[in-house]
Symmetry: D3
Subunit: 324 residues, 6 copies
């Protein structure tokens, strides 16, 4: 019989399962001994725990990226799930031990996301934008479909960048249907490229960190530079309105200068892209938090939502459940 997964245990239940060591930090306890601060992960989510009185051998053995057999008790600490570790050992050769099998990933396959995004590219009927988008998607294809959209917060999982992009495109499609004043190709092109700079700003899908380039340039200027390079390659005039409009879409997409956009949206489509970006990111964060919350309770505080915690109503309010 297959193990239960990390997030399916109840508080107080005994756990016993295979999991990936996602993060490992060696710390010194107040009694002077070393211990390990661990994060375990499988496809159902992640949970943290402490391994006390770690020997040098333990520290050598339990490194990030390895698969382990974990025994312990499911607890809660300040609204977040925790495990009180009772036993821990490395996976045997006859147990599942491929790290890739234990990583949270987007709810769609990369190939499906790619297909859907390619469908949208067909709708970018302006040839300048179409070619720049295709050039850059091709150049960064592998990273774009595997990177997360962020280190923490929303879409911080494998494939999160493409999944977030696709969600915005679906919202954009609805908005274009409803408001005829919007230039659909411009909105779609901007949406596809808006976060592409994250493939250089972040280190990758595992143990994601900011790169030096990410810290010193930021993903907005990174992708802006990529567009300039693409234009150089494709022999597009940097001063043509087509190029200027597309660069503006990316530069302005954080909406406010204090959030890192060097210019505020001055095109209808740039303002819409900014708002849809925020809408998708915040629904994703709130949904993730509410799903981890018990009915009738407020969940954990969300840093990226100004520290607010969200309430999960007690019972289905309508015919169906409040959180389907």
């Amino acid at each position: 019989m297959a193990d239960k997964q990390l997030m399916t245990y109840e508080v107080g239940e005994q756990m016993n399962l295979m999991a990936l060591l996602k993060n490992v930090t060696v710390r010194v306890a107040k009694n002077g001994k070393q211990y390990l601060d661990l994060t375990f992960e499988d496809q159902s989510g992640e949970i943290s725990g402490k391994f006390w009185d770690a020997s040098a051998a333990d520290i050598d053995r339990f490194q990030a990226g390895r698969v382990v057999r974990l025994a312990g008790k499911r607890e809660t600490y300040q609204g977040s799930p925790q495990v009180r570790i009772a036993g821990l050992r490395l996976a045997n050769a006859d147990e599942p031990h491929q790290p890739g099998d234990f990583v949270v990933h987007a709810p769609m396959k990369a190939s499906d996301m790619e297909e859907q995004i390619n469908q949208v590219v067909f709708e970018i009927t302006n040839q300048v934008w179409n070619r720049i988008v295709r050039f850059l998607l091709a150049k960064h294809r592998k990273a774009f479909f595997s990177y997360p959209a962020a280190k923490h917060n929303h879409h911080a999982f494998e494939g999160g960048l493409a999944f977030h992009t696709l969600s915005i495109l679906r919202l954009a499609h609805s908005v274009v249907q409803q408001y005829s004043s919007i230039d659909a190709p411009l909105l779609y092109a901007g949406a596809i490229l808006h976060d592409l700079g994250k493939v250089i700003e972040l280190s990758g899908p595992v143990s994601t960190q900011y790169t030096v380039e990410g810290n010193l340039l930021g993903h907005i200027s990174i992708v802006d530079g990529e567009i300039v390079s693409a234009c150089n390659e494709l022999k597009f005039d940097l001063n043509s309105e087509n190029v200027v409009l597309l660069r503006h879409m990316i530069l302005a997409h954080h909406g406010l200068m204090e959030y890192g956009s060097p210019v505020r949206p001055r095109l209808l489509e740039a303002e819409v892209l900014h708002q849809l970006d925020e809408l998708d990111a915040s629904i994703m964060m709130m949904t993730t938090a509410v799903e981890k919350t018990s009915p009738g309770e407020f969940g954990e505080r969300l840093f990226a939502m100004d520290g607010r915690s969200f309430y999960r109503p007690n019972e289905p309010q309508a015919g169906g459940p409040a959180v389907k």
Copy 2:
């Protein structure tokens, strides 16, 4: 042959048409003589002009709400259309002279909007919310389908309140399709009621002003009080979660306390309602401004968009026009 309408004249063209006097202010010029600061309106929009050296008879004659025959020249002042008045007289009995025929109104008929909103009410399957919504729509039906959504800014036209509500419902419908975590009945009920307090905050569809109640209570607390009264009437328990959730949807819909919400959104649906409200309002404002702007120019500064002006691109960027 029918007259051209106000907004169809080119800059520099001679105008000659029937129009409604929307606003009339008597002022004193620097030379000590009185003049009239006028706003003319017909179904195509509105335009302002000055009537110099107004006699007491002129002041008596040209009152807000009357229909006039206007002759003059179409000009522009700081990006806004203006008319330099050459002639002005009241409409004759054989000319169109019904004020109602010259008012800007929503692009849908009230009966159509009502029908579509009623369709959504059916989808509010929670009976507490459904009955409160129906009670309040019935109580304020006439005003709800004729009032503007604001004094200035977005949807400041007859029927604007219902039209804005309906636009949000359409966006909400798309979002509900895309994100299964959202409780649709709660979002729909909140969306329908969120601005209903404006039927008391504002004075009506013509020469709209803030009422004393509007200034001292604000539309958020006004509609909150209406919900409480409805519950009293319908014998619903004010302390039940259903009622508390619905009140929260309305109280939180401005998103930030500094924008007048006494509490910030703490429900997924309340945050989404806030963002969709903002999305629809800003698309409406930007579209109106861009339509009045010449290609290759930045339009007027929009106070409610932090004073930004928006650019209208020079030419169709794609196969079709940028602003269809």
Copy 3:
């Protein structure tokens, strides 16, 4: 000989007395063992301490709300009083063991406060306001005279809500004497009702928490809803100026929208109520802090006073003591 009380021990002195367990939190120490983070309370104030190496029996025994015999040493940690626990046991049957005898409460008896507030109600000569105030005081009488005014910060003790209200009324009386432009009945009615919503926003006088209603509606909208319900009951017209003015007094009393008032004060009396509310709350907080501070020192940082700490001068500055 009676025990000394909690706050009467000097730093370094051996303590031995009966006290109430106000809060109990079970935590895990860095050595992996459980301990109890305790707050002790008696009528002189409260003090915290840690009970190390707690057994399951200890955890079961020492629950919040029980009276204990505490032995230990009085210490100080970052400006706050602490006890280093040497011994702890439950009260015997022949020792004082009624929790109610160990709770901090307002410096006046509830019956005295009620009498004084009733005197003020007589001065509310406007019959609409008078009847609403009496209706709501009667409806929430018990809670109003026992609840604290806050979870932390100022007046966080049994009866604090009524005591704070009474203090504001006394200030209001002085101000009314000095400035004849103030409508005394309106100011008094607003003052009595301004924080009444806390009887629903908070859970009660013991282990005070925010209720779900408190988090989702806030005490301002709660009492506003109560006034609407009272009007419905008393058959008062919600649109009459009398009702609108009274609702405004409550809605505006936080002064700024970012502090949760949906409208800013637009009546002289509303602005005065806001300032007197702040004046009483801050004097109470500063007085409590200064009393706990040694002469010549700055006390603890007060979160609700922007993190400032206050200085207690070295010696009586005048003929009498600086802090009488």
Copy 4:
């Protein structure tokens, strides 16, 4: 029969009375001719008006500080009273023509204010503070009892500085009665000196301007320097706690650093002084504005109250009038 006074005319009524020219500005109209922008004053208040087509002789004749006979019509412009001037000439020798008879002044005589303030000085039982206060009151006696408290906003009339100080002392007396933790002598000493620097910051009671010293040092540092000089004169040690506490009272009285206090209040008494200062100033501003407003209307926007306008209720709310 005596003339009516400036503020006793109804809107639309013909005016004919003696008044002081408080401010005179020569401007050029859009037709290229000069006109005078005038403010008239008598003991009832002030009103503005324009004198069109001013000749060189008019400009020479109508200078600030002269008494004139004014004829015209009482009007209103954006909520402020105005006069449309029909006739204007200098006062004859047999008409009232002493400027001092037409100046708005405090509602108490200077000698009465001085007597009441001296009474409070007796209650400053700390001899250091008592002697500094008496030294500085004596040094600046004449200016202190004649200067306004501000150029605009609150207490901008002759004697306003002393009257504002006295009002705060009365509030302080009530607060001292109610809260025993307050050191009364310190609060009184701080209250008397807090705005004394205005006798150097401002130019005087007529045509009040900021001096260069006022602009470069501000009244807070000016009075702080005066206290230091007084200590030098009286041989008080600048490093003694008594002196430091008193200086803190003055330095901190604006409450926030962004309002010009180099330090925030860190004494209970300093915080209370700040709040009472604000309370008296705002009641004075609101009362003045509401008295000029018609029942059922919102008055002029008050710059120093964040641009808010205040509502004057329609009718006496209680047995007596809303604004007595």
Copy 5:
């Protein structure tokens, strides 16, 4: 005898001289007639004036960019110099009439600035930065040495961009001497390029306006794109640290994100560049304002210095003049 120049006339003096029409705006006076709002310029500075009752011929004749003979009287309006125009005609063929002879320009010749900047380029010993700087200086040489540094505010004159750049380089040189921790080549390279994007953001040295590219991209992203293009051309790796550091210098030079930098300075040299940029710009603005102010007075409010006005002391404070 040569004419006096614009800024050498005293207030009240009759003016009679040749000048350039820098800006011309046609407006309608309150009496319904057209007038011209003019700005005159010569090498001493600029002054504004109004030409009343302009005929169609006047409007056609007096266009921006033409040289005129101006007669009138020197006046002051709200602290700014003005001329009351008595006579105005176009320059005759035998009078000076070359616009270029009447333009304010930098106090150094373009060739001298170029020589000094080239000297600094030699000190950029890092070959990557050196070659990028030389590439871009060569590409935009003509504009760089003729454009102003801004539309208004500081260095808004011909050659202002290069002069401002050179001033920063001189400050940078002093700082490099004093603090050995600074990487001089990086600071110099960043300083030379930091505002180079203004050659595309602004329209040119005459009647300077923001271009569409300037509004939609901003000069920071424009020059960042130019660096990327240069690297493409020069075959430099965009991901090399040398390129990333240089791009960071430019991106971060506004210091705060709300001022348009997409990233805040994270290199010592980037922070220093930001501060030196601000130091030079503010000294230039204050100096210009103080020179126009009479001793003992405060000058005009400087928008870019938060609306502050600056004081010009009454007399030489030391052995020499306060403003040399």
Copy 6:
């Protein structure tokens, strides 16, 4: 062979050297035992460490200000250097044990700094400023040349106040050379006195704390009071422009009111002083941080630089090292 110094050990290296106990805090570990939180200092810098299971004798022995022999291992905790203590004992009589030999101090000798500052005083040719500066330098000479410039942050070492002042004077000298509009004597006088109040605001060069006077008055008002006292002593008129200008220089030097300046700079020289103060302080903080950072890394977050961390490039960018 001489010991290595504190900051010259590599991470992981065994340490064994003499050092000063700079700070000692007794704390209670989570296991209930006491430990010492220690900061060690020598002329190379400072490092922290924990001494576990401290006995009463240990606590008595290891007091701040004593010199000890320290053995342990050099580690890193959150980017800051730490030592894991293996052995600790007091210095023997035959070992170095003078605390003064282990203190970080300015990179110049006090006598050299004094000489250089005196050179600048000669350039203050205005006799009023010259005499005030000399009077106050003489009065506070000893403290001025030994105090730090701050408790934390920049120049927090012995002699830091004078060294920071001298650095600003060197910058000021460069600026005066470059911009002739600046009144050098005024700038120099302001620079010398601007932070002099710190000799009263702070407790001294060892274990620096804020004094009560520092907390209640702040160094800006303290030095302002010192200038007033000096003028009293020197019989200078407080109302003369010379005195007012000098006081303004000091009062305004924090630039913004929210940073504690009661007035903003309104003199060119005051604004320049503010900017040079900030420039020197920030270069010092960044340099100190970068020197502690490994190449290719970001250093610790600097609280006084808005929490930013700064990057140390990987390799010398130019011919010479990036950080010389």
